[in-house]
Structure formats: C-alpha cells, structure tokens
C-alpha cells in the first residue's frame, strides 16, 4: 500500500492536477473569505467553511478522475493487477494519497483563521469542530468519487460521472426539503452528506455523524474493491 500511496502522491505533484486542485480550491476559498469575512469584518469561520464545503463537490472529481480510469486508459492497471499487492491495498493507497492532497489544501486554508486571530477574535472550539466536519465531508466525497472512477474507462467520463453524482448527493438535501413529511425525505436526509456536516458547523462534535462519515468512506471503498474484483473476474 505504501508503494501505491507514494506513487500516487508523486503523481499529483509531477502533473498539474495536484497544483490545479490546490490552486483553484484556495482561489475560490480566498474569494469566500474576502467576501464573507474581510469585507464583512467577520471572524465567523463556520460560515466560511460551510461555503467552502461546496468546493468538495466541485473539485473532488479532479482529484480522483485519474485514479482508476486514468490507469485503465494508460494500460498501467495491468501492472498493478499483476503485482503482489491486494486490491484493498491498491484502493487504500490511492484513497490516502488523495486525502493527503486534500489535507495539504486544508492546512493551507489555516491562513484564514490565522488572519482572523491577528486582526480579530477566533472561536477556537467552534472552528476546530467545523474543520473536523469539513475534512470528514471531503473524505466522503473522495471515497465516493474513487468508487465512481473505478466504473469509468476514461478520465473525462470519470470526472463527469463524479461531478453528476456529487451534485445529486448535494441536491438530495433540497429534494428532502421539498418532500417534507414523506418517507423518502427521511431516507434522503439520512444519506445527505450536507446534513451530516451541519452539527459540526454548529460547533458540535457528533459521534453519530463522525461514525456515519467513517462508515460512508469504508462502504464506498469496500464497494470499489468489489467492483475491481468483479472486473477482474468478468473483464466484460
């Protein structure tokens, strides 16, 4: 797994993908910070991170599209599949590499709370809880998009598929609100990643939501392993 992790991490920064992801994320995050905090003279990081959480939905497909679809289109998947590394290790190695790029980006966003500390007042506990939810949500989107890239044969298909599904997951909240009172609304709310983030954004560390996020990531990665194994068995 370490070999896969190291190669993937190198791959992000030997190609423009890692820089594009970090750069675009920080640019859009900076716009949110400038408009929501600097212009409004507000030290409220919760509001900022809530807005920035939209970026996971938009940008995670860039991070994940190459992970399996890219391997398949280059033919390097056969090198991995014929190696003595298990499918679980391959999937986890890629997941942790993508999460590391995500964490690098998150650490770079710490500039915003630092600016707030320098020129205003920061609520540490509330900000820390929101950051935890923010990171968990990012991890969930990465796991979901890794599952989707395992279904695609080209990076473009993987990115479009991931973006579409991310948007559907995001919109499930709005659909649940529209279906208020219906049993489907409860189901959609239960699976909504946005709903799971809400308690963290209110400064609460909810163990149920923490566990949900970890289980969501595990389930997506498990399904990814099963799909890859099935492709090995069937190969269409």
């Amino acid at each position: 797994m370490r070999a896969i992790f190291r190669r993937e991490l190198q791959g992000y920064f030997f190609t423009p993908i890692g820089y594009v992801f970090v750069g675009v994320f920080l640019l859009l995050g900076g716009i949110f910070f400038g408009a929501g905090n600097l212009a409004e003279r507000s030290g409220n990081m919760t509001y900022l991170l809530r807005n920035m959480s939209y970026l996971w939905m938009l940008l995670c497909p860039i991070l994940t599209m190459r992970l399996f679809a890219g391997e398949r289109s280059r033919g390097t998947d056969q090198m991995l599949l014929s190696s003595p590394v298990s499918l679980t290790s391959i999937v986890l190695g890629k997941f942790f590499a993508a999460c590391t790029v995500m964490m690098i980006t998150v650490v770079l966003t710490f500039t915003y709370p630092v600016l707030v500390i320098l020129f205003g007042k920061l609520y540490f506990a509330e900000t820390a809880a929101t950051y935890l939810g923010f990171i968990l949500q990012g991890g969930c989107f990465i796991a979901l998009d890794i599952l989707l890239t395992s279904l695609a044969h080209s990076q473009v298909t993987a990115a479009i598929l991931a973006f579409g599904v991310n948007l559907a997951v995001w919109l499930s909240d709005a659909v649940a609100t529209a279906l208020h009172g219906h049993v489907a609304a409860s189901v959609l709310s239960f699976f909504s990643l946005n709903q799971r983030f809400t308690p963290f954004a209110m400064g609460q560390i909810s163990y149920a939501n923490l566990l949900y996020s970890l289980l969501f990531m595990s389930a997506m990665l498990f399904l990814c392993v099963r799909i890859l194994n099935r492709q090995r068995t069937q190969e269409e």
Partner: protein, 305 residues
C-alpha cells in the same frame, strides 16, 4: 513449473480460451503464436492474475494461482501488450515503484535497478522522464519493469511490436539471454521472433492449442530428392527402407525422373540407407536436400485449416 489445466475463459457468449492445457517446464523459452483474437493475451492475463479463468485451474510450482495469487505474483514479471508506463515519472522512479510493488526492501532497490538498466540498455536514460523517451527506450523501460524483483517467470506480450529491425534484433538477443536464468513465456505475431528466440512454439487458433512444437530439433526429418528412374520401379524399392516412415512420389513423365519426399522415423540416419539402395538400383540422385516444415508453414496451415 506452470500448468494450465483445462482453462476456459468466456466473455459473454464469446469463448476466448477453451480446453487450454499447457505445461511449461522451468527454464524454457516458449512462444505463443496466433492470429489476433486467438487467445494469447487472455492466457497471459490469466497467468499473471489480471483476470481469472471462467473454469479450469492454473498451477505455478504446484500452487493454484487463485488460492496463492499474491505469493505467486511476486515471482512473475509481466510486460503487457501496451507498455504500462507513467509518462510523468523518470525511468529511475518508475523502476523504483515497480521494485516496491514487488515488495523489495528499499536498501536493495538502487543496485537492483542499476543491474536491470545495464541488462536492458537504459542505464543512460535513468534520469529522464518517460514521456520524453523514444519508442524503443519506452519499450525497454517497460521490459525492465518486468524484470524488477528478479522473477522466476517472465511473461512478455508482443514485446517487439512497433520496434525497428535493429531494436527487434536487440530485443531477441535480450530475451534469449533471459532464457538462461528465467522461464520466459512470450507472444508474437512475428514468426522469426519465435523461431529465433524460443525453445518451443505453441500455436493457438480460436482459443485452442492446435500445434505444440519443439523448435531447433530434428525430430521431423524429411528428405526431398530428385531421382532419375521411373516411379514404377522406384517406389516399391523405396518402401523397403527400414528408416522410412512415409514415401511420396511425383513422377515427371517428360524427363523420366521422379520427385520423392521421404519422411524418416524420428531422427533415423536414413541418408546412408537411401544412398546404398539407390546405388544398388543404379538410380542416380540428381538432387537431395533436407526439408523441414518452417514455423511459417505450420502457422499458415493452422491459420487456414
């Protein structure tokens, strides 16, 4: 060392491999030949664990590759049909990755890469990006990847495809030299590749083995002769040859000569017996030449049964 036992692979209604049984002893260089879609790549993918068979078993040193796949894959180096290269990496970092995948300790990797790079002729491009290499160097790099971890079995799927004649000759020499230390399974469309490199050729057609032939042996010795004597007297006499398995004659009535094709029993010394017989019959031999079925003849017969 490797045993395919009644292996079958289906892709929906299409059967890519059927009743595929093949035994490969240690140290042999074996060539898989066949038209596109004959099943060569499928057999290789099954052996390397990229896909699983629909039925049947493959054993590597007595172990089923499905039950002990990770342990076995450590001992197999595989060069797929499309070179599995990461263009953004340098050759050195790519080979380091390949060694790590094989589970080699980091301390041993640099020396191992130097050794492989010398063997495959890429020592001077180790620091270059793969995306900037020529076709020949790219193929060599992919080949070097298959040698990482010093595997007992090397599986090469059309390794000379797209190379120029000089590069092809170098690759043949390289594969031949690998055969001294490793078992090599190698597929190609190019018949001279197989003829010059392999100890044994297996021809596949529509997923089945139709010919399995040891190369560079004299087991199918045939003699083609032109003799000045009519078929009527000559043929009964030739059929008395002790070492002859089969005698075929084609008379030329205008010259009174007969073209004869004699198939010997195994590698029997039939020439001396034939000479003595024809001498006693006072039948001059106008031409005498050994005839071996070339791999091309066998392949073409197999491809157009």
């Amino acid at each position: 060392m490797i045993q395919f036992d009644q292996v079958e692979k289906r892709y929906g209604a299409h059967i890519a491999l059927q009743h595929f049984s093949l035994s490969i002893p240690k140290g042999q260089v074996i060539g898989l030949l066949g038209q596109n879609g004959a099943g060569k790549s499928t057999a290789m993918k099954i052996l390397t664990g990229c896909i699983t068979p629909s039925s049947g078993h493959v054993f590597f040193q007595g172990q089923d590759i499905l039950s002990a796949s990770q342990h076995i894959r450590r001992q197999i180096g595989y060069l797929p049909e499309n070179a599995p290269l990461y263009d953004e990496m340098t050759v050195q970092s790519y080979l380091t990755f390949a060694c790590r995948l094989k589970g080699m300790p980091d301390a041993q990797i640099p020396a191992h890469i130097r050794e492989i790079a010398e063997k495959t002729g890429i020592a001077d491009v180790l620091s270059r990006r793969i995306g900037n290499l020529s076709r020949g160097y790219r193929q060599r790099t992919a080949f070097a990847q298959a040698l990482c971890g010093n595997p007992a079995l090397i599986v090469l799927d059309e390794p000379t495809q797209g190379l120029d004649p000089v590069q092809t000759a170098e690759f043949r020499a390289l594969i031949r030299s690998l055969g001294k230390e490793h078992t090599v399974l190698f597929s190609s469309h190019i018949l001279p590749d197989v003829e010059q490199v392999c100890d044994r050729a297996v021809i596949l057609h529509q997923g089945k083995i139709i010919t399995d032939k040891m190369l560079h042996t004299r087991s199918d010795k045939k003699l083609r002769c032109l003799i000045r004597m009519g078929e009527g007297r000559l043929l009964p006499a030739l059929r008395t040859l002790r070492h002859a398995e089969k005698v075929e004659a084609l008379p030329d009535h205008t010259t009174g000569e007969t073209h004869v094709l004699i198939t010997a029993k195994g590698d029997a010394p039939i020439e001396e017996e034939l000479f003595t017989l024809l001498s006693s019959l006072q039948a001059p031999i106008l031409r005498l030449a050994p005839q071996e079925d070339s791999l091309e003849d066998i392949f073409l017969r197999a491809a157009n049964p």
